[in-house]
Amino acid sequence: MLRSVGLESPEELFSTIPADILLTDRLNVPDALSEMELLARFESLAAQNAAALRPSFLGAGAYTHYSPTIIDSLIQRSEFFTAYTPYQPEVSQGTLQAIFEFQTLVCQLTGMEVANASMYDGSTALAEAVLMAERVTRRNKVIVSPALHPEYLHVAETYVAHAGIELQQGGFDERTGLSTFDDAAVDDKTAALVVQSPNFFGCVEDLAVLAERAHRAGALLVVCVTEAISLGLLKSPGACGADIVVAEGQSFGVPVSFGGPYVGLFATRERYARQIPGRLVGVAYDREGRRGFVLTLATREQHIRREKATSNICTNEGLIALAATIYLETMGRRGLQEVAAQCAQKAAYAARKIGELEGFSLPYSAPRFNEFVVRAPAAAEGLLERIADEHNITGGLALSRYSPARANDFLVCVTETNRRSEIDALVAALKSI
C-alpha cells in the first residue's frame, strides 16, 4: 500500500514532522500481550480490590442497585456502542430516539419540562446548573447547602472560580440534619439556592419550602439528587417548585465502577430551554411526513456559539444515558416504585437496629430515604476497618474523610441489594466491637 502512494518507507509518511521532533527510540511501553495474558493481568489486579468482593453499605454519591441483565446485553450491541454523536440523523435514528426517550423519562421523574441528552455526571451537572442560574438571573451570588456532597461542592468551586460567581455556604440544623437558609442572606443579589435531597447525610429536604424561599427573593432553586432511585418515592423537585434539577443517574442500572462512567441528568423549565447546557434532541419530520428525531437548538452549543456557548460540553455520556433509559423502561412505573420502597424499608430496618445498639445513635431527626448518619462511640474510621477485617463487611463511609470534626460519624447506605442477613451481620459486627 505504501507503494501505491509513491512511498518507500513508513518514515516518509511522517516527512512533514521536523526531524528533530521525530522519535528515534521506541516508546518505553511493554511489548504486546495476548488476549489470555491480558485477561490474567487484569483478573489479578481486580482480585486486589477487596472492597468489590464483600457486602457493602457504601453510598454517598455512588449506589449499588440491581441491574437487569438485558441492560448490559443491549448496550453492547454494536449499533449503540460503536456509533458516535448522531450528527447525521438519517443513520442515527436509534440513538436519537433513545435520547428522546431518556429526555422524556428525566422530565417525568424530576417533574420538569426540558431535559438534555446528559452531562458527565452529577457533580459536573451541578456546576453547570450554578453557571446557568447566573445566566438566567444575571445575579452572581449562589448559596449552597452545607449538606451538599462535598465533592460536588468542590467541583462547583473549581468551575465558578473565574466566572465571577460567589458561592456562599447556607446553614445546617444539627438537630434535624436539614439545610437552613437565613432570610437576610437570600437577597436580590442571589441567583440561586442550591440544595441536595436526600441530602449528603441522607435527610429528605422540604423542597417546597425552599422553593418558596428562593422565589420570594427572585432567585432560582437548584435541586441536586445523587440517589436517583429516591425519585421513585419522593415528591419530584419539579412538583416542589424547583427551577433546575440535576441528578446523578448512576443508580439507574449503572455499575459503581470505581467512580465512572456515570451520567449526569439536567432538567429545567421550558422558559429556560435556550439557556440549558449540552445537547437536546427534538422531533422533526421528513418531506413525506415521517416522524424522526434530530439534534436541535444547537445554536446554544460550542460548535456554533464558541466562547458564548452555554457550556463547553461536546461528548457527553451517551451510552450510560442509554443504560439508564433501558433500566427505567425495564423497571417501569411499578418497578421504580418498588425499588424505592424496598430501599426505604431496608434502610429503616437497618437504622432501627443500629440505633438500638448500646453507644450508637442516629443524630438526625428528619425523614430519610436510604442513607443515614450513625454516631459511633469511637472513631468511625478505625471501627469500619476492623469490621472489614474481622467480619468482611464494608460498613459505610467514615465522614472524617470529608470533615475531621465528624470523627465518630459514619454514613450507612442500604439498597434493595442488601439482604436482611447482611444487615443483621452489620448490626452484629457493630455490636461486637
Partner: protein, 130 residues
Amino acid sequence: MANIPEDLHYSKDHEWIKVEGDIGTVGITDHAQHSLGDVVYVELPKVGDRFTSHEAFGSVESVKAVSELFCPVAGEVTEVNETLNDEPEKVNADPYGAAWMIKLRIDGGGEVDKLMNAAEYEDYIKAEAD
C-alpha cells in the same frame, strides 16, 4: 438578485431602516435573510432599551448559525415585533414587511444620512461577494 426597496436606508451590517418622522423601523435585508437560511429564532430587546449605532440589539438564529443584529442608528426602542417569537420564519418570507424587528425613536445627529441608499447597498453587496 436580492430585493432592495428604494425607500429604505441600509447599513453595512445588512440592516434596513425606514424613517417616518423621528421613528425608525428596523429589520434585516433580503440579502441577509438569504445568507442566513431558514430563520428559527429571533431574540429582540425590550421597549425602552437604548442602543448606539453598530451596537448589537438582538440576534437571529438559523439552524446552524447565530448572527447578531446591529442597530443602524442610535435611539430608544419604542416597539418590538413580538409576532417573531412565534413566527420567526416571517424573516425569510417578508423581511421588509411582516418581519420588521424594532421601532426606534431616533436620536438626532444625522446618522441616518450616513447610511446607504438602495443603489449604494446593491453595489456594497456585489463588492462583498467578490
